[in-house]
C-alpha cells in the first residue's frame, strides 16, 4: 500500500477532530444576530389599539428621533415582567412605541392600568402582519430604531434589568 494512503485515515481524523475541538471550544452563544439590523422598518399604518393613545405608523419612526419599538400583548406573561424595565427606559427620556399583537382594547386598558404605561403610541396589529414584517417571531420583542426608521438592534424576549442602561445609551447615541 502506498505510503500516503496509509496515513490518509489519520490525517482525515485529525481534521475531523480539529473541527470537533472547535465545536467544544467555541463560546456557547445563543444570541442570534438579527437579519433585520440595518434594514428599514416595513411601511405600515396601525390604528390606535386603545382609547387615549394614538396608533403607530412607520412614518412616525422616520421623523428624526430614535425610538424603542416594543412588540407586546396584554395576554403575554413575560411582557408583565418586562414592564418595569420599559418604564425605566421611558423615564430616561426614550420614546417607547408599542405594537400590540392580537389584543383587545379593554384587555389592553387593564394591562396598562395594572403595569403602568410607558408608551407614547400603541398600534393594533390584529393579524400579526407588522410583527412578521419586522422579523419578530414572538412577544415580547423590542427594536431600537434610529431617526430615519432604520433598525439598530433587536432584543428577543423580555428586556432584563441589566439591559436597560445599554438600550438607553444606544438610543442616545443614535440622536
Amino acid at each position: 500500500m502506498k505510503q500516503t494512503v496509509r496515513w490518509a485515515p489519520l490525517v482525515l481524523f485529525i481534521l475531523l477532530g480539529s473541527a470537533m475541538t472547535y465545536g467544544l471550544a467555541k463560546p456557547d452563544s445563543t444570541n442570534i444576530r438579527s437579519k433585520m439590523i440595518g434594514a428599514s422598518v416595513p411601511t405600515f399604518t396601525l390604528p390606535p389599539a386603545t382609547a387615549g393613545l394614538p396608533g403607530l405608523a412607520s412614518s412616525d419612526l422616520a421623523a428624526g428621533r430614535p425610538h424603542l419599538v416594543n412588540i407586546f400583548a396584554s395576554w403575554c406573561v413575560p411582557c408583565v415582567a418586562e414592564a418595569p424595565q420599559l418604564k425605566a427606559i421611558a423615564d430616561a427620556g426614550v420614546p417607547v412605541m408599542g405594537i400590540a399583537v392580537r389584543d383587545r382594547p379593554e384587555a389592553l386598558q387593564r394591562f396598562l392600568a395594572r403595569n403602568g404605561n410607558p408608551f407614547r403610541a400603541i398600534g393594533a396589529d390584529d393579524a400579526s402582519q407588522v410583527q412578521m414584517a419586522m422579523g419578530s417571531s414572538g412577544v415580547p420583542e423590542s427594536f431600537v430604531v434610529d431617526g430615519h426608521g432604520r433598525i439598530l438592534s433587536q432584543v428577543i424576549g423580555p428586556i432584563n434589568p441589566e439591559d436597560v442602561a445599554g438600550i438607553v445609551a444606544e438610543v442616545r447615541a443614535a440622536r
Binding site: 500500500m1 505510503q3 496509509r6 496515513w7 485515515p9 489519520l10 481524523f13 485529525i14 475531523l16 477532530g17 473541527a19 470537533m20 475541538t21 472547535y22 465545536g23 467544544l24 467555541k26 456557547d28 442570534i32
Partner: protein, 639 residues
C-alpha cells in the same frame, strides 16, 4: 453504603483494568510471566463493573435520594419499570452501562474465544483494557454516578416524560450492546496489527463478535425508530437527527465490516481494508457517543448534555482513534497483501457493497458535521435536513440494493456475465414489471419511491434465489441468515417507499360528533374526557374508527401533562391493519371549541420495522450457524 460499595467496585475494576493492560502488554512483547492472569483479570473486572451497575439500579429502584444522580432523575411516584430504566436514562448511568458492557464484552472474549492465536488474543485483551481504562477515568473523575447529596431532599426531580415508555427500558441498552460490542472488533484489529497476524483464521475469529454487535445495533436502531414514530407524535420514523445518525454510522461501518470480513475469511482478500473497517466501526461508536454527550450538535435527543465532559471525551477520542489510525499507518505496510480476484466475482460484489456503504457513511458523517464545519469556517449557524440526506444517500442506497440483489448470485473468485444474467433475469423482470405497474397506477409518484418499490420487489426475489434447487434442510444456517437479512432489506425498503409516497395526512379541527375521512377510514370524534394516572393527567379523545362496512374500533389518543417535571406530551393512538397503520394525535382546542386532530393513513408502514426485525433475525441465524459449525468442524474450509 450501597453507593460506596458501587464506587469501590468501580475503583477496583479500574485497578484490575490497569493490571490487565500491563500484563497483556508484557505478553505481547514476549515476557510471559504475567500472561496467565490476563483472562481471569478480564473476567473479574467485568464482574466488578456489572456489580457496580446492578448497585446503581438498586439505588434507583429504592429511590435513594441521598445519591445526587437518583435525586436528579428519579421520583417515588414513578412506576417500577421506569425507576429501573431511569438508572440509564441519564449521562452518568449510561456511561456506567457503557463501561459495564465494555468489560463484559472483554470477559466474553477471554472466556469464549478459542480460535484466535494466543498472542493476538492477549493483544486484543490488552486493547480492550486500554479502551476500558480511559472510560473508567471518565466515570471516576468526570461522571461519578455514585456521588452523594447532602442534605437529603424529600423528593426526586423525576425523569423526562418522553422517556417514560417501555421502549426506553430496552432501546438504549440494545444500542449500547451494539456500540460497545464493536469495541471487540476494534481490539481485534489492534491485536492483529500488533502481532501482524491477519488472515482467514483471524477473520473467522472476529466474525461472530462483529455479527453479535451488529445484531444488537440493528435491533436498537429499528426499535429506536419505532419509538420515535409513536412517541414523538410527528408521524415520521426517521428524522436524520444527529443522534439518529450517530447510531446509523456505526451500523453502516459494521455492515461493511461484516461483508469484508467474509471476503477475508473465505478468500484471504481485503486484509488492510477489513482492519480499517474494524477500527472505523468502533470509532464511529465513540464519535457518536461524543456527539450525543457533549452537546456540540443541537438535537431533539439532547436529554443528557454537558459540554465540560465533552473535552474529556474528545481527549479519549484523540487517544484511541488517533492512536489506532497511527498504528494502522505504521503497521499496515507490513501486513502481507491478500489474494486478488476477478472484476466479476462475489469478492468484487462485496467490494462494491463496501465502497457504497462507505460512501453513504461519508455522506451521513458530512451532513451531520456540516453545521459544525460551516460555523467553524464562516460563523454562520445552519442545519442540514432530510432533503440533503435523502437526495444524497437515497440514490446510492438504491444502487447498493441493486448490487445486493446480484451479489449472492455471483461465484467466488471468478464468474461470467452470461450465467449471472441468467440467474438474475427473473428478479430483473419482476422489478421491471413492478416499475411499470406502479408508474401506471400512480403516475405522479416520486422517482426515488418508484425505484424503491421496483428494486424492493427485485431484491425480494433475488435474495431467496440462493435457496433455489437446494435441499432446504441441508442448507447451512448462515446461508439462511443471508437470505433472511437481504429479504429484510427488501421488506424495509418497500415500507419506506410506500410510506413516503402513499401516506395520507389530514389536519382537521373537529367538533365532538363530527366525522372525518382519512384513507379508507371514517373517523368520528366521539368524546373528549379528562383522565389521569399516578404521575400525569391528560385529555383523552375517543375516536370511533370504521373501515368500510367493518366493525367500529375505538382509538384514544391523549394530550398528557406530567408534573415531575412539568411537561406536555402527546400520546399517539395507532391502529395496525394488515395493509398499514392509522395514526392519530390530538392537539389543542381552538377558540371556537373545535379540537385539532392530526390523522395519518400510512399504507404498509409497518414493513419498515418488520424488515428491520428480519435483518436482525438474519444476523442471528448467521451467528448461530457460524458458531455451531465452528464447534463441529473447526478445520473445514468455510463457505
Amino acid at each position: 453504603m450501597i453507593a460506596e460499595a458501587g464506587l469501590a467496585a468501580l475503583w477496583l475494576g479500574a485497578a484490575l483494568c490497569a493490571l490487565q493492560l500491563v500484563a497483556a502488554g508484557l505478553a505481547v512483547r514476549g515476557q510471559d510471566a504475567l500472561a496467565g492472569i490476563v483472562r481471569p483479570v478480564a473476567v473479574a473486572q467485568a464482574a466488578l463493573t456489572a456489580l457496580a451497575f446492578a448497585l446503581l439500579i438498586l439505588l434507583f429502584v429504592r429511590v435513594d435520594l441521598s445519591v445526587a444522580l437518583v435525586f436528579e432523575n428519579d421520583h417515588s411516584a414513578k412506576p417500577f419499570l421506569y425507576r429501573f430504566a431511569a438508572a440509564w436514562g441519564n449521562h452518568e448511568g449510561s456511561m456506567l452501562m457503557w463501561v459495564a458492557i465494555l468489560t463484559v464484552a472483554g470477559a466474553a472474549v477471554a472466556l469464549f474465544e478459542r480460535k484466535l492465536e494466543e498472542r493476538t488474543l492477549l493483544a486484543t485483551l490488552g486493547g480492550q483494557a486500554a479502551i476500558g481504562l480511559g472510560f473508567y477515568a471518565f466515570l471516576l473523575f468526570a461522571s461519578n454516578p455514585f456521588a452523594r447529596l447532602f442534605p437529603v431532599p424529600p423528593e426526586g426531580r423525576g425523569l423526562n416524560p418522553l422517556l417514560q415508555d417501555p421502549g426506553l427500558a430496552f432501546h438504549p441498552p440494545t444500542l449500547y450492546l451494539g456500540y460497545v460490542g464493536l469495541s471487540v472488533a476494534f481490539s481485534f484489529a489492534i491485536g492483529a496489527l500488533l502481532t501482524r497476524d491477519v488472515g482467514p483464521a483471524f477473520a473467522r475469529a472476529m466474525r461472530p463478535w462483529v455479527l453479535g454487535a451488529w445484531i444488537f445495533l440493528t435491533i436498537g436502531i429499528t426499535a429506536g425508530s419505532y419509538w420515535a414514530y409513536y412517541e414523538l407524535g410527528w408521524g415520521g420514523w426517521w428524522f436524520w437527527d444527529p443522534v439518529e445518525n450517530a447510531s446509523l454510522m456505526p451500523w453502516l461501518a459494521a455492515t461493511a465490516l461484516l461483508h469484508s470480513v467474509t471476503v477475508l475469511a473465505t478468500r484471504d482478500g481485503l486484509r488492510a481494508w477489513t482492519l480499517m473497517l474494524a477500527v472505523l466501526a468502533f470509532s464511529m461508536s465513540m464519535i457518536g457517543t461524543f456527539l450525543v454527550r457533549s452537546g456540540i450538535l443541537t438535537s431533539v435527543h439532547a436529554f443528557a448534555v454537558d459540554p465540560r465532559r465533552g473535552s474529556f471525551l474528545l481527549a479519549l477520542l484523540f487517544i484511541y482513534i488517533g492512536g489506532a489510525l497511527a498504528l494502522f499507518g505504521a503497521r499496515v505496510g507490513t501486513v502481507r497483501e491478500g489474494s486478488r480476484f476477478d472484476p466479476i466475482s462475489r469478492e468484487a460484489g462485496l467490494v462494491a457493497n463496501n465502497l457504497l456503504l462507505s460512501a453513504i457513511l461519508g455522506i451521513v458523517l458530512v451532513g451531520t458535521l456540516y453545521p459544525l464545519l460551516v460555523e467553524a469556517a464562516t460563523g454562520t449557524k445552519l442545519s442540514v435536513g432530510p432533503p440533503y440526506f435523502n437526495a444524497a444517500a437515497g440514490p446510492l442506497a438504491l444502487i447498493l440494493v441493486a448490487i445486493m440483489a446480484a451479489g449472492p448470485l455471483l461465484r467466488w473468485r471468478r464468474d461470467n456475465l452470461k450465467p449471472l444474467a441468467r440467474r438474475i433475469a427473473p428478479a430483473a423482470i419482476l422489478a421491471l414489471a413492478v416499475l411499470a405497474a406502479v408508474k401506471l397506477a400512480a403516475p405522479t409518484i416520486h422517482i426515488l419511491s418508484l425505484l424503491g418499490l421496483s428494486l424492493a420487489a427485485g431484491l425480494a426475489l433475488a435474495s431467496v434465489a440462493p435457496l433455489w434447487k437446494r435441499n432446504l434442510l441441508r442448507t447451512p444456517l448462515f446461508v439462511w441468515g443471508m437470505v433472511v437479512a437481504h429479504l429484510g432489506v427488501a421488506v424495509s425498503l418497500a415500507g419506506m417507499a410506500c410510506d413516503s409516497s402513499f401516506t395520507v395526512e389530514k389536519l382537521v379541527a373537529a367538533r365532538v360528533g363530527e366525522r372525518v375521512a382519512v384513507g379508507p377510514y371514517s373517523i368520528t370524534l366521539d368524546a373528549i374526557d379528562p383522565t389521569f394516572a399516578e404521575n400525569w393527567q391528560a385529555l383523552q379523545a375517543t375516536l370511533l374508527v370504521r373501515r368500510g362496512e367493518g366493525d367500529t374500533l375505538t382509538l384514544t389518543p391523549q394530550a398528557r401533562a406530567y408534573w415531575a417535571p412539568p411537561t406536555e406530551t402527546s400520546e399517539t393512538a395507532i391502529h395496525t391493519a394488515l395493509d398499514g397503520q392509522l395514526y392519530t394525535v390530538i392537539g389543542k382546542q381552538a377558540a371556537d371549541g373545535r379540537w385539532q386532530l392530526r390523522l395519518w393513513w400510512k399504507p404498509f408502514v409497518t414493513l419498515i420495522w418488520a424488515g428491520g426485525a428480519l435483518i436482525a433475525l438474519g444476523g442471528a441465524l448467521a451467528l448461530v450457524g457460524r458458531v455451531w459449525r465452528g464447534r463441529r468442524k473447526p478445520a473445514e474450509q468455510w463457505l
